[in-house]
Amino acid sequence: MPPASSPPVTGERIPIIPRRTAFQPPSRPWWSRVHDPLSRSVFFTVALTAVVAVLFIFVFVGKESLPVLLDETVMQEASLEKFFTPQVYKAGKEPQLSWQPVSKIPKYSFVPLVVGTLKVTFIALLFAVPLAILAALFSVEFAPRLIREIVKPLVEILAGIPSVVLGFFALMILAPHLKDLFGFESQLNAVVAGLAVGIAIIPIIFTVCEDAFTSVPPTYREASIALGADRYQTALRVVLPAALPGVFAAAVLGFGRAIGETMIVLMASGNAAILSAVMSDSVRTLSATIAAEMLEVVNGDVHYSVLFFMGTLLFTTTFVINLLGDLYIRRLRARLGGK
């Protein structure tokens, strides 16, 4: 067939249809050619906010803590060595590890605070991890649909309770009752704070565990049952081990939450920087120290830098812990993925 634009061979006139009128889609406004690439780059820039935020947190919290590492005069009072090793403050006295930032000779030992944080975290995990794992296993493997539909939103409600409310609960109700029950010397202590922090981290452990258990392929269960195991053996010896990286991730994420938890420990731990292994002593944690003392420090003071250094420490720790949790969740997916 000859091209449409070629002249007619015969003398007959064929109307020439102008090409543009017939099949042209409605013309786009001029900006439509611009706005796709433009919006892409704008969106890209905005999407980087989260990345920049993490970077900035590190930079700006870290920046304020630099004097502790660099400034000679500040380091006379507060340095890494003073934070973590026993110090002799008065000639002839025993070297000590104590946190007394506002005494005549400021003492900045992190050791009692780190130990306090670990004590509270230990109690919290001891309480929350088994409870949340077993409850999640129950909800995934045994609970009838109806119960499951009830448990899930309840856990979500628990997750939605602000930590200041849990702190209030621990301070006003848990503390006096536990004191009556166990005869604690100090009403506010690591056990009270730990239990309340445990309540706060149950939801995240539960949710991550539940995800892990649900992602175990049904073929695992079928194979186990076919080999003669009952449902309980299947749950505890097949599903649980298969989902183990996920369960571990849950515990790790719970740990990360627990060491960063602030309001609960601020209200319920007693806030005394006592270095001891006894769980029923009052404790002071890193996070609570920052929250309580930040309001009273003079800007640019040694104490101010020390608190920011503490924040950097807390941030770095949780950062590493979260990466670890992420890694284990990915390992779970790799293990169960395949298809």
Partner: protein
């Protein structure tokens, strides 16, 4: 795992097995029940002690007589102002980030992985560290910078203020918004996008006219969850702008403010007479709890409505 040939089981094995079954089942059941019991206990005690003090006057009057009487209106006002500014700040950033992640890049791309990693980490940063960041970045860096540039160094923005607390919370709630919005975008069928693009629409037109309208309920869910989270956070705002007591309501961005959660902390730990302020304290806790609970409930309802529509 021991593999026994289950041809003939001795009765002892069977008893042991029954015992194991019973034990593991009851342990699991007990764990689930304990969690529920804790929740009901916390809610029950707070409702029982807080409900009698709730009244219209309690919600609309300022505290009087050293917190021993009066209401909590300034705290409610401050909380609302705080989360309002926070929402205005966090929504555009969160939604656009989610759009970029889901519509503009493959999830395996370097940028997407980097952003996801940051979002995950941001969600795990302790709230008190956000407070420190608010002090170090917003107040010391931005605030002082603004003061020097526009106010001749007079202390205006370089101090704890409503806007800095709100921006700090915006950063804290960013992950919530991103995750929920992305989830909402995922529910929009790919065919709709393909059809729109095939008909000659540009990507932006497809996004604005086809995808986003479908995702609006999901984005609202994100906003509500962010508000509920933001309204309950105390540690960041006590460092960046919340005040113990203010005789006036905040009217400018650089005013300090009272806030429900912080008010609870103050009443519980620094009250001159704990016994006398206790009823008010309980009622304040109940108000905060109701606020976050209602917000969460509406988010859940909204989400289930959207899911039902999608089917």
């Amino acid at each position: 795992m021991s593999v026994s040939l289950p041809i003939k089981r001795s009765s002892r094995v069977r008893t042991l097995r029954m015992f194991g079954m019973g034990l593991s089942f009851s342990l699991m059941l007990a764990s689930a029940l304990t969690i529920i019991a804790i929740l009901l206990l916390v809610l029950g005690i707070i409702i029982k002690n807080g409900a009698p003090g709730l009244s219209w006057g309690f919600l609309t009057q300022p505290p009087t007589n050293g917190f021993e009487s009066g209401g909590i209106f300034p705290a409610i006002f401050g909380t609302v102002a705080l989360v309002l500014i926070m929402t205005i700040a966090v929504m555009p950033v969160g939604v656009i980030t989610a759009i970029y992640l889901h519509e503009y890049t493959r999830s395996s791309s370097l940028v997407a992985r980097l952003v996801r990693l940051s979002v995950n980490n941001l969600a795990g940063v302790p709230s008190v560290v956000f407070g420190l960041f608010g002090v170090g970045f917003f107040i010391q860096f931005l605030g002082t910078g603004i003061d020097q540039a526009f106010y001749g160094g007079a202390l205006t923005f370089g101090q704890p203020a409503l806007v800095w607390a709100a921006l700090t919370l915006a950063l804290l709630t960013l992950p919530v918004v991103i995750v929920t919005t992305e989830e909402a975008l995922r529910t929009v069928p790919q065919e709709l996008r393909d059809a729109s693009l095939a008909l000659g629409a540009t990507r932006v037109q497809t996004l604005v006219k086809i995808v986003l309208p479908q995702a609006i309920p999901g984005m609202l869910t994100g906003a509500i969850l962010a508000i509920s989270r933001g309204a309950g956070e105390v540690a960041p705002i006590m460092l960046t702008g919340a005040a113990y007591y203010l005789p006036y309501l905040p009217s400018k961005l650089n005013d300090q403010f009272m806030e429900l959660g912080y008010h609870i902390y103050i009443l519980a730990t620094q009250s001159p007479d704990v016994e006398k302020t206790l009823p008010i304290l309980y009622s304040t806790v109940l108000v905060l709890l109701l606020l976050t609970f209602l917000l969460n409930l509406s988010a859940v309802a909204l989400r289930s409505i959207t899911r039902a529509q999608m089917r």
